[in-house]
């Protein structure tokens, strides 16, 4: 059995070796700190919602350029507000940026009616997608999705009128 003095001597002698070993390996890093944390499902859904608004904005921009007589600018302005509000809710995870690109660039309808129908279908799709995200969202984010979906549902109604009424969108109004 080693005496206390022998033990101290062994410890003192092995200290440089221990230090050099630690210098090579570095301190042990917990697995959770080895890379950016995975993006949560809620954030992924939010990033998709941002992209979808960008796609709608792109489509409206093309439709307005092709058919400037259609009074679509108020609807486009509301989509820009949706995008701003949704983007503001994103807390960018490390290594991930709020998407800044449009992912769908379909050709715009070759007639006014086709373009309106295309916008209408896109709005309707957007409503359905937003509603499908309610369950996985926090209460306040679910409310934002529901409000944006309700706004886009009113766009569908407006576009319904636009598709039928050659005078524009005013027939959607009761005033």
């Amino acid at each position: 059995m080693l005496s206390r003095r022998q033990l101290l001597a062994v410890s003192a002698g092995s200290l440089p070796a221990l230090l050099s070993l630690n210098a090579c390996k570095g301190p042990a890093v917990p697995a959770v700190l080895k890379g950016p944390p995975p993006v949560s499902d809620q954030t992924t859904m939010l990033l998709h919602a941002v992209t979808e608004e960008q796609n709608l904005i792109w489509l409206y921009g093309k439709a307005i350029a092709a058919y400037p007589e259609l009074p679509l600018s108020p609807l486009l302005a509301e989509h820009r507000q949706h995008l701003a509000r949704l983007s503001a809710r994103v807390i960018e995870p490390p290594g991930k940026k709020v998407p800044g690109t449009v992912t769908a660039k379909p050709a715009i309808g070759v007639t006014r009616a086709a373009a309106v129908a295309q916008l209408r279908a896109a709005e309707q799709r957007a409503v359905q997608v937003l509603l499908s995200r309610l369950g996985g969202a926090s209460p306040s984010l679910a409310q934002l999705y529901a409000s944006v979906a309700a706004s886009e549902a009113t766009h569908v109604t407006v576009l319904d009128s636009a598709g039928l009424d050659s005078t524009g969108l005013d027939s959607a109004s009761r005033s």
């Binding site: 509301e78 209460p139 306040s140 409310q143 529901a146 706004s151 549902a153 009113t154 109004s173 009761r174």
Partner: protein
């Protein structure tokens, strides 16, 4: 499963808003004529149906549905066409806001119900207002 108290509270809020809308359209309709009056009548019926539906839901959940008040304090006097339309907008916005509160509950089925139920009043509000808005049901920022 026993519903959460917050689920019942949110549904009662929606029901109270529907009661108010049923009353309010009675006032607004008296000042309207022609197509506006026809539209107001259709909207009044829609609110009655929504009210009945909510009462049924609450009863099935074991709650006692809130009753309508005998009378409501209107936010402003309704003496002409413009004021009647403005009241209709306000009623629809109130109902939309009440359903948005349902979207914040934990129950996923109720969330979907609230979100879908927001759409008709948001559409009616847009029709009476003459324009759409970006965030139906949300407080103006």
């Amino acid at each position: 499963m026993t519903p959460a108290e917050s689920d019942i509270t949110a549904l009662q809020g929606a029901l109270a808003a529907e009661h108010a809308a049923v009353y309010g359209y009675g006032v607004a309709g008296a000042m309207l004529s022609g197509a506006d009056r026809t539209a107001a009548h259709a909207d009044w019926i829609a609110h009655q149906k929504a009210r009945d539906s909510l009462e049924g839901m609450l009863t099935r959940l074991g709650a006692t549905p809130v009753a309508a008040s005998a009378a409501y304090q209107l936010p402003f006097a309704v003496t002409d066409l413009a004021e009647a339309r403005a009241l209709a907008v306000l009623l629809e916005e109130g109902v939309t806001q009440a359903y948005l509160a349902v979207v914040a509950v934990r129950d996923k089925t109720l969330r979907s119900f609230g979100a879908l139920a927001m759409q008709p009043p948001a559409n009616r509000a847009a029709a009476w207002r003459g324009r759409t808005i970006a965030f139906p049901g949300m407080p103006a920022s």
